[in-house]
């Protein structure tokens, strides 16, 4: 399965944030999306998630040589600031989500099994989500996005504000679920991208560029990325 972006453009007034972006993401890989502040990472995610209309271009999924448009169910989007409905308990949110997707989901597990999978403790499961910590809300948001089994998972700096333990748990989880799906992980932290991601993609000058990782030591590789990103402002 491939996610193909062709000639995608998006401007805000006269500022062209995405310039005829063309790129192919392949399943089974975690892509680290690196770019400077304001480079357009969130705009790209919003366009892929259809939160924002793009000006020109197309986005589609290619499977066994046939292609189809990206549907809402194909995409899971995890934001850096976790957003969960605070008036529900963790269990109620999960139940609501399972109700909505009962026809689509195969092999539905019990709510407790899902909580166990995400290491959410039994004493927290029936608390209102407004009383969850930041890390717990993030886990809940991730859990919902994982259960839906989307083909494409967009992660907008999801580990930035998590403590080290939860961040490590999340990284492990992402490595475990990457088979069969495309994970695009946007971050400012280069070491995190190098540690977790299979491919590094730069978003600079409104374009996506895959960085060749082979035959380069990590210091050289970092310098190459920084040099490329500096060009944005030259």
């Amino acid at each position: 399965m491939k996610l193909k972006i062709e000639n995608l453009s998006k401007s805000f007034n006269k500022k062209e944030v995405l310039k005829n972006v063309s790129f192919t993401f392949e399943s089974g890989k975690i892509y680290g999306l690196l770019g400077r502040n304001g480079a357009g990472k969130t705009t790209l995610f919003n366009c892929l998630n259809k939160d924002m209309r793009f000006d020109t271009g197309s986005v589609y999924i290619e499977e066994s040589s046939s292609s189809r448009p990206v549907a809402a169910d194909d995409i899971g989007y995890v934001l850096s600031t976790p957003t969960v409905p605070e008036f529900l308990t963790g269990r109620e949110f999960l139940k609501f989500f399972l109700d909505i997707h009962q026809k689509k989901l195969k092999d539905v597990k019990s709510t407790d099994e899902y909580f166990d999978f995400m290491s959410i403790m039994p004493e927290d499961r029936d608390k209102l989500l407004k009383d969850y910590s930041h890390g717990m809300k993030n886990k809940m948001q991730m859990l919902i996005n994982i259960i839906a089994e989307p083909d494409i998972l967009l992660l907008d700096e999801p580990l930035t504000s998590l403590d080290v333990v939860v961040a490590e748990e999340m990284k492990e989880l992402l490595r475990n679920i990457k088979d069969g799906r495309i994970i695009i992980f946007s971050t400012h932290i280069m070491d995190l991208a190098l540690d977790l991601c299979d491919e590094i993609v730069l978003l600079h000058n409104g374009e996506l560029e895959l960085v060749d990782k082979e035959n380069l030591g990590s210091v050289e590789f970092k310098e190459k990325i920084i040099a490329a990103l500096r060009e944005d402002y030259q």
Binding site: F12, K14, A72, Y77, F87, T89, F96, D99, I100, N145
Partner: protein
Amino acid sequence: MRNAFRISFSLKNTYRVNSILYAIKQLPILKKVLPDRIYGMIGFKIVGQILSWMWEVFSSIFLKALYFGALTATTFALVTVVDNISLFGEIFMHLFLFGTLIGTMSNTYMLSTHRSKHYAVMLLNMNAKKYNISNYIFELSKLTLCYAVGFLILHFTAGVPWWLCILSVIFPVFIKSAVVGYLFSAFEKGKDVDNSNPFGKLTFPLVILCVILGVLLPGLSLPVPYIGVGVIMAAGVVLGICGIVKICKFNKHREISRYTLLKAEAVRADSKQTVVKNTAKVISADTSIQSSKKGFEYLNELFIKRHKKILWKPVLIITAVAFAIFVIANIASAFNTETAEMFNSALMNSLPYFLFVMYAINRGMSYSQALFINCDHSLLTYSFYKKPKNILKLFTLRLKEIVIMNLLPAFIIGVGMAALLYVSGGTDTPVNYLLLLLTPMAMSIFFSVHNLTIYYLLQPYNSNTEVKSGTYSLIMGLTYAVCYIFMNIEIPTLYFGIAVLGFSIIYCLIACLLVYKKAPDTFRIRA
């Protein structure tokens, strides 16, 4: 000092010009037409500059003139009450004295916490003493100039003695300086200081005392005589001289400015978050609240049950109050013919007044705000929630809920009015009973549909739960204005009732059709 003032004035001016341009850029059509470079375009800068100067003149001269006008009007009213025109001058001076004291306790000018000062002192690290003193002199000069003109007119028209007029022109400068001197001393002693609350817990009682003495004494024909006002003002001038000495010696301008600015910034940040915090706070922590439904019905039911405090509780209170009012009105009409006639005439001609009443008691706006902050704000980031069929399903459930919620008080008001018409003497046209019953209900349904469809079609909030749609604010403002205007219009109930019923039915049909057609595209979190 002159250079510091020039820089600070220029900064304040830039802040104001950019604020004006920002406001212009929020207007519905202009938003799309005007470029982002507007802040750097000379033509727009000139327009902003002209408007900025107009505001400076307006705030300096017009508002002071308005203040003088209000004092004059109050003086006339009090003179009429005591029926003694010869007290005009004394009552005016009495009001001015207490008004100035209240003004001094509300703003000293010296410790202003305006945003532009925050930028100058906190971010640009300007010399705080030069900033404070130069701006203080500028503000007091404007004030003195305006008062000089005002008291010149007063001297010739009301015969207030010239010595008192001169004293009155300088009194505000000295009394403000006295308070500033007190605040500086308090700060040096490590006490809390506040520009708009110089005496801590005492400020509010002192303001109330000034209001009472300011209005009550002249109302009893006992205004402070000229000589008394003069003595108080002279004492103020003496205190002011002490204050000015303190101001000249004070050397902690940077510290006191940072202290007051940071405090004001914290209050601003807090008030910005207040709605969000308060809306989150009202979620019921009662874990016994459950639902046996499934899917969106489950979500909706839990939302309503956990938000009873801001949804159903006010509805029940409004219903109870409306019930009590109509019971009293019906009893009063049954026993008093004059009251009955008054109510009968009002019911036959003043139904438009109820447009504003129904607008004011409608829970639609609070409902959509709670929906966004506690529910949609988070769930709109999930793709399953944004599917057209899910958006429309939830819209239908929510519409049903808000219509039922608002119908309860509307029904009581309708029944109450129909009963009141009967008790107060009835009508020759029996259809009026039906119209009085149905019109409040139609208005209630109209406002319920209106608030929810506008929310779905314009979704005005961004991810920080700030309203970012100029069109939304404009429509809400227009709705208020129209309802307010109708309050003062008299139309026979027969015509107004039929018109409201017809309009409500057509509006609701069109609004729902629009939501079904457009909401899947418009119901998104604003970028």
